[in-house]
Symmetry: C2
Subunit: 372 residues, 2 copies
Amino acid sequence: MKPVVDLPGEEGLIVREGEPGIWRYASVLPPVKMRVSHREGLTPVLESKRIGDEISVDLTYKDETRNPTGSFKDRAGAVMLSVASERSVSQITTASSGNAAGAIALYSLLSDVEANIFMYKPSQQKLSQTLSYGANVYIVDTPDEGTVLSLAEKASSELGWTLLNTTAATNPMVSEGYKTVSYELWEEERSPDWISIPVSSGSLLLGVHRGFSELERIGCMNKIPKLLGVQSSGVQPIVEAFDRGRDFVEPSKRADSIATALSLENPGTSGVETLRSIRSSGGAMVAVEDDSLIETTRNLAAKDGIYSEPSGAISLAGTIEAIEAGIIEEGDSVLCLITGGGLKDPSGFEGEGSPSARVIDNSLSSIKERLE
Amino acid sequence: MKPVVDLPGEEGLIVREGEPGIWRYASVLPPVKMRVSHREGLTPVLESKRIGDEISVDLTYKDETRNPTGSFKDRAGAVMLSVASERSVSQITTASSGNAAGAIALYSLLSDVEANIFMYKPSQQKLSQTLSYGANVYIVDTPDEGTVLSLAEKASSELGWTLLNTTAATNPMVSEGYKTVSYELWEEERSPDWISIPVSSGSLLLGVHRGFSELERIGCMNKIPKLLGVQSSGVQPIVEAFDRGRDFVEPSKRADSIATALSLENPGTSGVETLRSIRSSGGAMVAVEDDSLIETTRNLAAKDGIYSEPSGAISLAGTIEAIEAGIIEEGDSVLCLITGGGLKDPSGFEGEGSPSARVIDNSLSSIKERLE
């Protein structure tokens, strides 16, 4: 990836302390006149209350569900639309299973750009939210996420819309947004041994890696955390390439997982760059089965108090997997990025064994029945 | 209400700047050894992008949807459970339509307290979230919210659970939590002419008023904003008392509104204190019809980019009502508290006239059809 901004020299990084969002790092972000913002970023790092002890690591979470639309995508959305606005773009399009859709719809609205969004099997919650911001939404009836992206590309060239591709390799603004995660961790002086990150095409991981690499070049950090990339075993093209020691990625033949935000069969060039970033960090990749992912999603809420969608909790499920595989060792410090909230996709809390309420009449006896 | 904490003298207010949540104001909060926190509070104030100009006021929003569980209730939850934990409480109970349920479930989990929560017509989203934190949830089959509270009271006395009543008059910890809103506004040097606040029993409004009163007594503020209390016209007992110049509140005979979080027929003593606080601030009360509330909820998202539940957007709907009634004047500065997110209750975006998506096949022609 080509550098987008000129980095300052050693000790030269300016943090705009009054700025309560990602633009506090404007000195290392693309220069724009109008910084579109709804105070995305500066998400809290929360200590694990119970799970860390259970799995014998020093466990923290960076809670990206606290962004304006409830997912990490807002970081990229703010940067992409600020740049699009600078370039006087009037109509944009993108393809998304839901989190990017909500983020791009919001920041389009804030920058007076019309958004045309192609969605792929969205949860009702993500769809309603995206529509609420006034985006034109097309749900494509196809079993294949790649088709949706192709259609968005076709529409953009035929109808004169600007395509906002949300994969890092095709759109450098994406990593520019996500790298703010690393700058926040640096500013809070958090330097865990491992950072665990959900991987679809790998854009978030690439952004985090770019952030740490920049901080190293600027002279602010001398040790980059190891990156753990986590995919669902139902669609794990990059994990397979990693396991086989390849430097290319073959598209997955299937995409079948409860982690709907991570259902991309073909990660393209971003997948290759993801492999490279993980290896250069000394990190690893793991895949997680749906059963274990559902269990982890429920435990994350019930034990540590973070209500997440399965795609967001996969960083914790992958951490547990990596401990069992001997990749992460006892006593290591691990920070999991929780990328999207349970209110956006409560599917981890549905079906067999999920927590349930009891409907009672207005009497104490019906409570006592339950207590017995 | 009796004071809970000893206030510092003039200029003596200590803000713990490193503390990224409400406990930065620990010097004016109940003294506890263990401050339970998931970084609630410090919510952003967002400028209106379009609506302020349309209605000719200087309009901002304090976005309480950015709290850990997605509503302002987290502020009270953190204080209540910190105090409960201090007192070695092991089992608590509360009654809620959903937002308090989620907040109390989360902070109970974080303080190792077992939560038994009685819910009243919750949205599926609020229910799933509350269950996710491991609370025992009872949905009471009754047409009347008061009944649910009575049952919670009965259960608490009979079963030895500690009742966490979330109305300010019966539980001073509630206002202690909500007053942090005012401290945050003071710290950001925001002093609008009006603050518009959704009112059920009035607990949030009472907390905000307490915060400003304290700041005045400490010597930090010399002008308290006027408070606008907003109820739904489907259940507006306090508005009726205000309009009639009464200092008592008669329970509403009906509770019929899309603003489900504001459906309390009988606000009890908190209602009386709400009247007093509003009058002493030089403020006013208004009620809002469901039709206008739905329109406002949709506009808040589509024009200003905040996806809210109807109960949360009612502060904006009330502002518009108050402008039309000549209560708020052109050019006034108005800050609306947006108390809960659209992901928690998307009912404002359902039904007739709501924004909708188009399902298309994988072809450009189906997009062009829509464009024509």
